[in-house]
Every structure is written in C-alpha cells, then in structure tokens.
Amino acid sequence: MTDLKTRLGLNVFKPLPAPHIRIRPGMERDPRLRAAVRACPSGLYEEGADGVFTLTIDGCLECGTCRIACGTEVLEWGYPEGGAGVQFRFG
C-alpha cells in the first residue's frame, strides 16, 4: 500500500502563495470538521488529542469535499489564485 504522501507526490503542485482554505477563527473545535477528517481524499485534516482540528493545505486537490462536508460557517473556502495549486496531467 502506497503511503498517501508518496502518492500525492506523484502529482504536479505549483506553490500556493497563501492557504486558500482556512478553518474560521474560533471554529477549530467545531465537530463538523470531523467529516472533513474522514472525507478529505488527501487526509489534510487532523483532530488533535486536545480536540483541536488542524488543516495542512499542501497536497490539496481542490476537490471541494470539505466545503460540502463541513459548510462555510466552519471553513473559509476559496480556490487558489490562477496558476497555483494542483495541475493535473491526466485528470
């Protein structure tokens, strides 16, 4: 089984000048984020032992699953600026 990080490393990613998705300030413990931990195809969401959720943006496939799963009350969600982020060669 290939490790998820190795697999994401197969993709072409261009640098993101700033994170395009953020957990809204004060929402870091919102239980709705648990859905993103489970559903994110890149496994970018984590729930810490202290109940605080974190998001690492590197490896984001810009699919939008987290926006649908958690909603925009919890996430400030946008696409990265033009030409940044994942660039699919096969798609």
């Binding site: 089984m1 699919c63 699953t65 600026e81």
Partner: protein, 428 residues
Amino acid sequence: MERFDVIIVGAGLAGLAAAYTLAGEGVEVVVLERGDYPGAKNVSGGRLYLNPVRDLFPGLWDEAPLERAIVREGATLMARNRSFTFHYTGGELRNGKPQSCSILRSKFDRWFSGRAEERGAMILAKTLVTDLVRENGKVCGVVAGGDELRADVVIACDGVLSLLPEKAGLRAPGLSRDYAVGIKEVIRLEPGVISDRFTVGDGEGAAHLFAGDITRGLFGGGFLYTNRDSLSLGLVVSIGDMAKEAAAGDAPALFDAFKARPEVEPLIRGGQTVEYGAHVIPEGGYRALSGLCGDGLLVAGDSAGFALNLGFTVRGMEYALASGYYAAKTVIAARKAGRFDATVLAAYRQSLEESFVLKDFRTFKDTPRVLANPHLFGHYPELIGNLLRDLYTVPAGPKSPVFTTLRRHLTLSELWTMLLDVKEVAKI
C-alpha cells in the same frame, strides 16, 4: 476594462462546448480558466457517452483524443469475503461508431480548447474569477485577478461547487447528501497488457463498475476504465454518508482497501500509479439542480448539477457538453433580440427541457433516492454471495438439494423485503 460579447468561466467541457459553439458563429468570447492550461483542474471518472452529443459538434470527434472505445461492460457486486461478477458485450458496442469512450480530461480538454481557439475563442489560463460584476441587478461581467472584465452575458461553468451561481443567488450552498467524492488513480500499463487483460482488441476498451462492501454500506461504488496506456481506477462515496458514519473509516483508506481487493488487485498488477486525483460529483439529480439562468447569467455543466448516477451508467460529461452547447445557442438567439435579461435567457431552460438533458433528469428524478437504499450496498451483495457460495460448495458429505439451498437464503421475510425494494426500483 476589457469588453467581450460573452465571458465563460471555466474551461471544462461545458465552458469549452459553449466557447466552441459561440466562436463558430463569430461571437467574441473569452474563457477564463484558473488552471495552468485547460484541463489542469479537471478530473472525471473518464467515460464519455458519445451518442447524445455526437451531432451537436459535427466534425469534432474524428481527431479527438479519445482513449479507447468501450466494447465490454462489467460489474462486480462485492460482499465482504466474496463477490459476483458479470460481463456484457454486444455487436452494437463493437461495430460502427462507438457508444462510449474512455477519456483523460487533461488531455481531452486541452485539445478541445485548441479547437475552440482555432475558431476564434480566446482562452485565458491562470486566471481565477473571484466575483461577478453587477449593474442594476444584472450580471455584466466578472472580477478576475483584481481586474473587471465586461460582457453582455456570463456563462458560469465554474464546476461542481457552483460558487458563482451561489454568489448570484441562484442557489444555496450544496447539501452534503447531494454530493459524492470520487478518488481516482491513473495507473500506467502497457497497451498490449491492457488489451489482453481485459480481452479487447486494439483501440477497444472495457468499463467495470463495483458496488457493495467496498463502501462499507455507504452510498457509492468503484469504477475502472481502460485508457490507451493506463487504467483509471476510482472509488466514489457519498459525502453525506461519510459525514454521518464514523465506522466506515476515512476515504483514502477505503480507496486503498478497494485497490487491495482480490477482485481488483490482479487487474492493476504491474501498473504504475502516475497521478492521484479527486473530484466532487453532484448526485442529487433533478431536485438538486441549480437555478439555470438570471439576468445576464447562464449556468452549465457540473455548476448546474448536471450529473446523473443510474447505477449501471454514471453520466456527467455529455450533460456538460450539451448544456454548454444549448447555453451558447441561447446567447446567439439573445444577441439577435439584443436583450440578455432572465426572461430572454429562460429559453435556455426550454431548450434543455426539449433535449435529452432535462428529459433524462425528469425521467430519473427518483433515482438518487432509490439508489440510496443501503440494502444495495450491504445486504444484497452478501445475500447473493452466500447463495452462490452454497451452490458452488461441494461438502465432504452429501450436498443439499438446490431448492433447499435457495430456500435457506430466500426466506419469506427476505422475499418480502425484496418485493418492497423492487417496487421502489420500479420507479426508476
């Protein structure tokens, strides 16, 4: 401030179909695409049904970078520890024009945008649209990279999240029950190995769907499409179900378990994964469609919600192509009238109603609800698996009569449940 006749947001199939059609009629059109090139942000399972859209784009298909013509259909119903598979092939699939082809979107869309450019469309890549520009309530342009671009009409082909229609008030943010997430690997394999492994000829390919235990009882399923020199292997799971059911595990783990199944592993053996992609899929059907037009605005493709899962066929790309085409035709007619308000643009909905697009969505409006029956993803695969196990098993001692075996599994209460489920399925 730049001005165009039409601005199209998003160089996917809907946007490119609209641009290709408009440019063909001499309309000054620009496509704004946030990726490095058209196709850079686009992921599909990878199968395009050609029959419904062939005639909308005459002359386009002969040179198109289609991967393989699908001549062999397959499906596997997976129980936890066993499975049931069938294959279908027929003369209509092998002879004449292909019914469907596998495609890889980054290749196809890039090529398609070239054809639109040849006709005079302008494609601006690396350009993110962040907002609509409105005047007196009418959409009259977009904000891209901090600049305003103006046009008579904006066609939002901005993808499944439908951010522009949301900004325009044509829809509320999507509900998780109406969407699934698809995870896909592109796995490189020698063309000859693919043809041998899937028992197809040169240029021919196979499509295979998987359902059952691979989604741990959640709505969804797997797919495998053969490309020219690669396989597209994917797993689709309802986001709403994932959010509710903790027991299923996380999406990447489900995908790994799917890949490792003894029914799947031999199919991809020796292949090398070259890309890992994901895409959200609209699964809500007719009920979950977005508003399709406003003053100065049309919505096409995934952004409108145009994808339809019928279990055996999972379709989106031809609805995207057709909706882009009809959006373009609506704009061409509106230009003659010299008006671009919602009343004139409502002709778009009418032309979709008269086409296969909304006819299909109406015909199959109950399908999402019926397919969401959890029996289909757990109970029936186990039932069929266990029944076949007992039929195929030769015990050390005497074997039970076939009828006894059947009755052991198909009890009265089982048959009753089945009858109720079949009554539901009859609605689709």
